[in-house]
């Protein structure tokens, strides 16, 4: 079986600094691959490079075809990134946040139907459809950010630290939502996460990224035990 998303020898450079140095991996259709590792290890850069939000060298192939090199075109090709820290459009209503997610596919897909199904799944957001997104709780904003990405009809979803700064109950809600939508939309997920316990709930395999290189590929279940990375120091500091 060939991987749906294939990353070969990916490198990201900011000036003199190499954030990602020659990373390769493949993800099967419908699989969730976690990338774990300490802050500054290159997880975010890796995810942004896959979604073409930062420049990189090496290849990113989707079903054997190179993912186009601009962010707009990558979204069009089905690779959509959910930013760290949620970054919902705080001054736009919940409904407009979701509509903005559909901008690139507005003529190609029935985005209103998808928004309706998202509302069914997330009644809390449906109730607050006309509320400014900046007024939502952190957990609701995270669900909205994921929902906004789903509005672009992705086949590959790149999730950057979705559990960061969330309360334990919000983390459970986000986990459940991610499981459901991945099933429903048959998506491939690249999960960049420093909370190893959270990663273990969603992924079967995990790459351990250290200083921009893959140190090892592990069974994600082993991450759930004594956490190999200090997960909480940084997330506490970010709140």
């Amino acid at each position: 079986m060939t991987a749906q998303l294939e990353v070969r020898d990916l490198a990201v450079r900011y000036g003199q600094a190499l954030a990602v140095r020659g990373v390769s991996f493949g993800i099967e259709r419908g699989e969730t691959l976690a990338v774990v590792g300490a802050n500054g290890g290159g997880k975010s850069s890796l995810g942004k490079a896959v979604a073409r939000l930062v420049g990189s060298t090496g290849d990113v192939l989707l079903d054997g075809t190179p993912v186009p090199r601009t962010a707009v075109a990558a979204v069009g090709a089905g690779v959509v990134y959910v930013p760290e820290g949620r970054m919902v459009f705080t001054q736009l209503s919940v409904a407009d946040n979701l509509r903005a997610g559909a901008f690139s596919v507005r003529r190609k897909h029935d985005w209103e139907a998808r928004r309706a199904t998202l509302y069914e799944r997330l009644p809390r957001l449906a109730e607050r459809a006309s509320v400014r997104a900046g007024l939502l709780s952190g957990g609701e904003q995270q669900l909205l950010a994921i929902g906004r990405a789903l509005m672009a009809f992705p086949s590959v979803l790149v999730l950057d630290e979705p559990s960061l700064g969330l309360s334990p109950s919000a983390v459970v809600t986000v986990t459940d939502f991610l499981r459901e939508i991945q099933q429903e939309y048959d998506m491939t997920v690249l999960l960049l996460e420093q909370n190893a316990a959270f990663a273990a709930k969603l992924a079967r395999r995990a790459l351990v990224l250290e200083l921009g290189v893959v140190r090892e590929v592990v069974d994600a279940a082993t991450l759930a035990e004594p956490a190999p990375v200090p997960a909480d120091a940084e997330s506490a500091e970010r709140q």
Partner: protein, 287 residues
């Protein structure tokens, strides 16, 4: 009492013009983070285009042509210049200031500094008692209100409006969902140019225009955009109406020589109370 009604109507008219100019400033700043000092020149371009086309082809054709010319000039300037300065405030500042000086000189050389009148709407209407108000000014009030309402509606309901608001809200987030920021910047400039042209046409309908017409409105446009909280449409409208009314009332009842000072006093007072402007919610981000 009679004079008060007239004064308030004049204030609303002025506020409507400031809204049109301020919306352009706030839109282009919101999306591209360029504070365009040459924005007032779009007003002048629109005003002269209207006056010249009206003389040659009649006012009916001159209206859309003036909008087209100003929108087109804005588009060209964005593509060849402003677009390249995005992300570099100093370059944007230098480019827009250079453009402003160039435009002023260009207008003086081409059209001379002599005031020019376009088609005027003649006649006055009587308000209560002795007070008379020129019909042209009432038309301007009507036009600005319609254009502001249509713009606000389009910002809410159309895809371009949504793209403008989303890119203005969070540029990086907008890029993650495939919003083409550079192209949305072009939309912002075209819309801003056209709104400025509407202001220019309105000005030409009620007073003679000169090469400096745009510049005097630009400063007020900046004031209302800043008071409103850069990036906010409602804020710009509220601030523009406040400024228009304050100027009209102050000129009539306090001291006419201070007309241009009222706005800046208002701005200083409001910024002391609300440093981010009246409607700036950018800092609000629930954790």
């Amino acid at each position: 009492m009679d004079a008060l009604v007239t004064t308030i109507l004049l204030g609303i008219m002025q506020g409507g013009l400031y809204t049109l100019v301020g919306l352009g400033v706030t839109l282009t700043f919101g999306v591209t983070h360029i504070l365009n000092f040459a924005h007032g020149e779009f007003i002048t371009v629109g005003a002269y285009a209207f006056v010249l086309f009206a003389g040659a082809l009649g006012a009916g054709l001159a209206l859309p042509l003036a909008l087209l010319v100003a929108g087109g000039v804005a588009a060209i300037l964005y593509v060849v210049g402003f677009r390249r300065t995005i992300g570099n405030h100093l370059q944007g500042l230098a480019f827009s200031l250079g453009l402003l000086l160039f435009a002023e000189a260009f207008f003086v050389r081409t059209f001379t500094a002599t005031p020019r009148s376009g088609p005027r709407i003649e006649g006055t209407v009587s308000l209560i008692g002795e007070e008379q108000l020129p019909v042209g000014r009432l038309v301007v009030i009507g036009v600005t209100i319609v254009v502001v309402v249509v713009t606000a509606f389009a910002m809410r309901r159309t895809w371009i409006g949504l793209a403008l608001r989303a890119c203005g809200d969070d540029e990086f987030a907008a890029s993650t969902v495939g919003l083409p920021a550079r192209r949305v910047g072009l939309y912002a400039f075209v819309v801003a140019g056209a709104l400025a042209a509407v202001a220019g046409i309105c000005i030409a309908l009620v007073v003679p225009i000169t090469p400096a017409t745009g510049l005097s409105f630009l400063l007020k446009g900046f004031v209302v955009a800043i008071i409103g909280g850069l990036g906010s449409i409602e804020g710009t409208f509220v601030a523009a109406m406040m400024l228009g009314l304050l100027e009209a009332l102050g000129t009539r009842y306090v001291e006419a020589g201070l007309t241009n000072a009222y706005g800046f006093v208002l701005m200083i007072v409001i910024l002391l109370v609300a440093p981010a402007g009246l409607f700036n919610r950018r800092q609000v981000r629930a954790g």
